[in-house]
């Protein structure tokens, strides 16, 4: 590692030998560090000399040669030794090692790729649906088993998940809910004012927040927050072979890892929905009081009159369904992760994107199915 290596690179000297034959003597260091940026020019220079078949090569004076140096010479010679070569025994060994089979062939170009990509996508979707179905079925069986063996219910896991996905999500959902309530109320109140229909702000806020915005906002936030962490947790357990360790101990993944998450999120989600809706309503109410002068006592009394309670049940129902589906999808993606980091990142992204999409699909289904419930 001394500095003199850098100032002692390879030197080519052409001379005429005792027998009158032309000779090329190489000396100095022929290593990666000493060659540095000269690699390309040297490669061309050596290839030029190698074109001469009667030239004698003398590499005994090379002080140090590593694999890079050896490959450089080997390539210049056209992958065989020149007819006249003088070398030291250790260089002999170095060159012997170079006679390797060629590397991997470059991947062949495939003109059918659009068809293949499409087909693979379709099969992948089918595979996802199938394994989601299997996982749900397994969870159902596990749940039935637990009904028969209540002492095996994983209470600790359920409560830990309840805390992580529910209690720890309160801050962010409150903030987002409150701000959305303010924005919604502000925009609507301006429009209503021009129509002189101030009082309808309560209907608009009540129905839209309790029935739609509260559940959807909460579900999207939870999908991003808890869904990703569930996928990543299972994925890391796959990478570190913890899942395999559980299997050989006879502890099923679905019972110990998936079911507690699904149950906990099924319980926590409606509560988070309730909380988000409440903070959004408070945000809206504050603006209504400032903008339109509607007092909050009046707001509350009127809210109970104009928004049928069925909307609340609908919102909570969405919460339960979305919560369990988010947990199910996250676990499904988590268990599919292969033991490499790339797959971990990809799985987590896919899990969050899918959960959010599915949340919105569920919301649409609810809207269609319950279109004549809770609306006057």
């Amino acid at each position: 590692m001394q500095e003199d290596q850098d100032i002692n690179p390879i030197v080519l000297r052409r001379e005429t030998g005792d027998d009158g034959a032309p000779r090329l003597v190489l000396s100095g260091r022929c290593t990666l560090t000493s060659l540095g940026g000269r690699m390309r020019s040297l490669s061309a220079e050596l290839a030029g000399y190698a074109a001469d078949p009667v030239l004698q090569w003398d590499i005994t004076e090379i002080a140090q040669m590593d694999d890079v140096g050896a490959v450089l010479l080997w390539r210049a010679w056209g992958e065989r030794r020149p007819a006249h070569l003088l070398l030291r025994p250790e260089q002999e060994r170095l060159l012997d090692r170079l006679q390797t089979p060629p590397g991997p062939p470059p991947p062949a170009r495939d003109w059918l790729w659009p068809v293949k990509v499409l087909g693979r996508g379709a099969f992948l979707l089918w595979e996802h649906l199938l394994s989601l179905l299997i996982l749900s079925g397994q969870l159902l069986l596990d749940a039935l088993y637990l009904v028969g063996h209540p002492q095996r219910i994983p209470w600790r896991e359920i409560s830990a998940n309840l805390y992580r996905t529910g209690a720890q999500a309160l801050g962010i959902t409150a903030l987002v809910g409150f701000l959305i309530g303010i924005v919604l109320s502000y925009l609507s109140s301006r429009q209503l004012q021009t129509l002189g229909a101030d009082i309808f702000i309560i209907n608009i806020l009540g129905v839209s927040i309790i029935r739609e915005l509260g559940p959807v906002l909460a579900a999207i936030l939870v999908a991003g927050r808890s869904g990703s962490s569930m996928t990543a947790q299972l994925g890391v357990m796959r990478v570190t072979e913890e899942l395999d360790a559980l299997t050989v101990m006879g502890i099923p993944h679905s019972l110990r890892l998936v079911l507690p998450k699904v149950l906990a999120l099924g319980i926590a989600m409606p509560l988070v929905v309730l909380w988000t809706s409440a903070t959004a309503l408070i945000g809206g109410m504050v603006v209504a009081e400032i903008q339109l002068g509607l007092g909050h006592q009046f707001f509350f009394r009127k809210l109970a009159d104009v928004v049928p309670v069925a909307n609340l049940w609908l919102g909570l129902g969405k919460g339960v369904v979305c919560g369990m589906v988010i947990a199910l999808i996250s676990c499904h993606f988590g268990l599919r992760i292969k033991s490499n980091t790339e797959s971990l990142g990809e799985g987590t992204t896919n899990s969050v994107v899918t959960s959010i999409t599915v949340v919105i699909i569920i919301d649409a289904i609810f809207a269609v199915v319950f279109s004549n419930v809770g609306l006057k």
Binding site: M65, V71, Q91, T100, S339
Partner: protein, 260 residues
């Protein structure tokens, strides 16, 4: 080839994890061109010491210098220069799980930006042949490899740039005896061709005796012995007695009497 100058210098090093003291006042000098074997019981802090020599962990007190340059130096460029001349074999391989075997070994070569792709391909195949991995495995991902293969490919990656300073953490653990011998021969061959300084933590007596010029024994938070195999054998310490004078140790030492 062994010079007296220090390539790696450890001075007054202390390591603590919470209240757990791992090292107390470690002083060590790795000479240019030597193989220093690092032995010690499991959990005696070999890996941690090696990580500190690499600048991956900061010691609680003391300092580490590589080529006279403190690892916490303010000259990142110079340090990077030195890093490219170091090769490291981690205890668990630490292959990049998202890259296949070929790309794992090609990565440090590509990072240099002075080698063309054809050269890299040849070099990768040379390295793979060196560790006796067949070319049909080049497209496999690390997750699809056996433990011993991971070790050998990690070694190939550590040797990718023909480093002058090599850190090996348990190089032969997980290899069958034949491959361990092949590894020893490989290192001996390379040392004959280039000047190579090696710091090697190992439990494998055969490898240790065959390769080490000097041995450092780590026990009770200190280096209890440092020197040639003969010096170490004459040191009186329970760990050394157990390690070298047990049945296994006697057998190995008998086979290597010429080294003493």
């Amino acid at each position: 080839m062994t010079g007296e100058e220090c390539i790696v210098e450890v001075k007054g090093l202390h390591t603590r994890f919470g209240s757990h003291v791992v090292h107390e006042d470690i002083n060590l000098c790795v000479h240019h061109g030597e193989v220093l074997g690092l032995v010690g019981g499991s959990g005696s802090g070999k890996t941690v010491l090696m990580r500190q020599m690499l600048g991956l962990d900061a010691p609680a007190a003391g300092e580490v210098r590589i080529c006279g340059l403190p690892l916490r130096s303010h000259n990142p460029g110079e340090l990077r220069q030195i890093r490219t001349r170091c090769g490291v074999l981690f205890q668990k391989g630490a292959l990049f799980s998202a890259l296949n075997v070929y790309d794992n070994i090609a990565l440090p070569m590509r990072e240099l930006r002075t080698l063309d792709e054809d050269m890299i391909r040849r070099l990768v195949m040379v390295k793979l042949k060196m560790v006796e991995i067949e070319p049909k495995h080049v497209n496999k991902m690390p997750a699809e490899l056996s433990g011993g293969m991971i070790k050998r490919i990690a070694l190939a990656r550590a040797m990718a740039l023909d480093p002058e300073l090599l850190f090996l953490d348990e190089p032969t653990a997980g290899l069958d005896p034949e491959l361990s011998d092949a590894f020893v021969q490989l290192i001996q061959t390379i040392r004959r061709e280039t000047t190579l300084t090696i710091v090697m933590a190992t439990h494998d007596l055969d490898t240790l005796v065959a390769l080490s010029d000097r041995i450092a024994v780590l026990a009770d938070q200190h280096i209890v012995a440092l020197g040639s195999l003969r010096d170490v054998l004459h040191t009186d310490h329970p760990f050394i007695t157990n390690f070298f004078h047990g049945d296994r140790g006697k057998r190995v030492l008998e086979n290597n009497l010429d080294n003493l």
